[in-house]
């Protein structure tokens, strides 16, 4: 397989075809923040936190590194003023929902995000979809899914499947950046699992 040579933050990086910028950066020890990314899952491109600036054949644009494929002579900058500003805004938007999320709090320090910039609306879930996608793609059980659309979108356990599958699995629990998933599970368990 032919190697691809690109530049990330001024450093020459080798990658294989089909790799994303995020994977290439990780291999080279360059950290890019993510919330919805998981190596076992298909790229989702939902949180947009891994946004980076790329210059491809003279054309500079912002792309999300978890999806954008590497290419020869690509120049990537993972921290520009604009990138940082966008990441800060994204974090602030999410902190309105989950002000006490550990991963969010850590990133907020890094990017100077103000957890009080937007009025609090604690719904806890930040819609990263890790639980939903892990259950569907890795476990192939579909015990938890998204319901509704847009700002009304929520995760929801499907009681019939969850009652059968979840107690012995719970592999999605540690993936959740806000522990809302556990709460949703306990609620479903209390309300909808049949009692034996």
């Amino acid at each position: 397989m032919s190697e691809i040579k690109l530049e990330i933050n001024g450093k020459e990086v080798m990658a294989s075809p089909g790799m994303t910028i995020l994977a290439a950066a990780e291999n080279a020890g360059i950290a890019i923040p993510t919330l919805c990314h998981h190596e076992k899952l298909e790229p989702f491109g939902g949180c947009r936190l891994c946004i980076v600036e790329v210059t491809d054949r003279g054309w500079t644009k912002l792309v999300v590194s978890c999806v954008y494929p590497v290419a020869n002579n690509l120049i990537v900058r993972t921290r520009t003023e604009k990138v940082d500003r966008i990441r800060k805004t994204i974090l602030e938007l999410l902190l309105a929902h989950a002000p006490d999320s550990e991963p969010l709090k850590e990133l907020a320090i890094e990017y100077g995000a103000d957890r009080d910039r937007f009025e609090k609306d604690p719904s806890f879930c930040i819609h990263c979809g890790l639980c939903v996608r892990y259950c569907a793609e890795v476990k192939k059980k579909h015990a938890v899914g998204f319901v509704d659309r847009g700002i009304r979108k929520e995760i929801s356990f499907i009681p019939e499947i969850a009652a059968r599958e979840c107690n012995d699995c719970k592999e999605c629990f540690p993936l959740c950046p806000t522990s809302y998933l556990q709460a949703a599970f306990v609620l479903t368990q209390a309300l909808a699992f049949s009692k034996h």
Partner: protein, 653 residues
Amino acid sequence: MARLNSPEELERFRKKILAQRDPNKPCISICAGAGCVASGADEVIAAFQSEIENQGLKAEVDTKGTGCPGFCERGPVVVIYPEEICYLEVTAEDVPEIITSTIKEKKVVERLLYENPETGERVTRESDIPFYKNQARNLLCSNIRIDSKRIDDYLAIDGYSALTKSLFKMADVDVLAEVKKSNLRGRGGGGFPAGRKWEGSRNAAEPIKYVIVNADEGDPGAFMDRALLEGNPHSILEGLIIGGYAIGAHEGYIYVRQEYPLAVENIILAIQQAEAYGFLGENILGSGFDFKVVVHQGAGAFVCGESTALMTALEGRVGEPRPKYIRSNIKGLWERPSVLNNVETWANVPLIINKGADWFTQFGTEGSKGTKIFSLVGKINNTGLVEVPMGITLKEIIYNIGGGIPDNKKFKAVQTGGPSGGCIPAEMLDLEVGFDELAKAGSMMGSGGMIVMDEDTCMVDVARYFINFLTDESCGKCVPCREGLRQMHKILTNITAGKGKEGDIELLETLSETAMEASLCALGKSAPNPFLSTLRYFREEYEAHIKEKRCPAKSCKELIAYYIDPEKCQACMLCAKKCPVEAIDGGKKMIHIIDQEKCTNCGTCFEVCPPRFGAVKKISGEPVPPPVAPEKRKLPERKLPERKKKKEQLKNE
């Protein structure tokens, strides 16, 4: 009907249809498009049919329910051929007179004709009405000539001749070359050159390819695609088959929103008819080319107009856009090359093939060729669908075709491009309409919505309205769109409610940048446009709302107050009677006063106060003057003219 197996058979059949039609036989065409049906066209059609029956004229007159000709403001529209007499706002009661006068006695019913509001002159022929005269109706002109449920009508106006020309006289590459040469750009919003999109799919290695019609028209106030699908479904189908032939696809999809039941019905019927005639299916007209079409009904999501979301929905999954950085003409539906074009784009294809790219490019500007259909709505005299050559100015559309603004109000802005388009102010009315020109002005072509606003429209509220629409329609997958728009909507709502703060504009700008730069799909990327364009041209309105708690258009309910000018009040009691919350204190000969505590700012008093008094005032950003002192409330006895006195007496009795 037996299948037609060759172009010769089609031409023979076409001649047969035309031979059966007498061009001098009176034909009454009644618009059966959605707009006219809403104003009673169905009853008019039924009335014509029964009246013709009653008067024993069935053999001598044809009637036809046709597609939308565009003049929705004055529907139901009836056109009588061969004279092309156009009657407007026809009701079932007018029908006997039309039959007796126009059909039997060959006399025109004057009162149903268009009347020029300036000169008072009546206009008999449809094409002489200014609304139509100033258009270039390459696509819409067919709507009124055919019954959209009858394929024979389409064949009678040369339908499917572009298909035979493509299949038998042109190689597939020639078809592609002609479309490329025409420089036809996508009519759905992006304006991407259709030929280049087609070429990408054609050259893609994957052998199975698709062509798709995007009929998920969801912009508030837009109904161009609806009118075409309802009125002339075969033209879209013909364009799609030609597109399939050009890129080597044998399967086509029509993604149509289920909120358009008549469009769904007509396109399904058109497919069945085309299959029966052999324009669809295997070995079309004996050419060896196979093509089939499937209709897919959308489930009510605006975002499914976005190409990748539409394709995901077609695959049977939740209609959310894909994050991949690869064009769908290379990897689209089921990861295969897929050409997705909008209804109007496809409808242009048969015209380009029949008349040639050189004919097509004589319309329009350097960068935007051909004509464009706009749905002209809002504060405009002639609401309806207009088809104009690209390059026409906004002023020409709004004044020459649209007839200007009603009630002598001042024009303020025109919003183009759908919810994520922008507002263009009065000083830019000379702007030529084209993809690049509109984008440069901070708006966009979009699919062709055009909402006209007058001086009473608050531009901050307009931004709030569209951001609200987009927040509601966001799929919720990515943060900049879902959360960013939610916050933008909150801030804009606060501003219009008088709760705006210093720094709100800057915060809105930051959120706009995040949505534009970081959103997953075009919905989020373009969503800040309504805010950004109104800020660009009407910044002072934002500042007035935030700093002075004043709405310059006096439209934001929470920033206005009504009060009665004691100098002008004639104590007629009209407003007091009509006030739904009994907030107006007043009696006979007593100057009325509005109780500001009780008032809900509904504006009823303002509307009912007789214009000759003009006593009710709408104010914003200034304190309500204190109520008139009790001793000054009594109106002096006035001498009423004798006539009025009598009238009052009669009323009292």
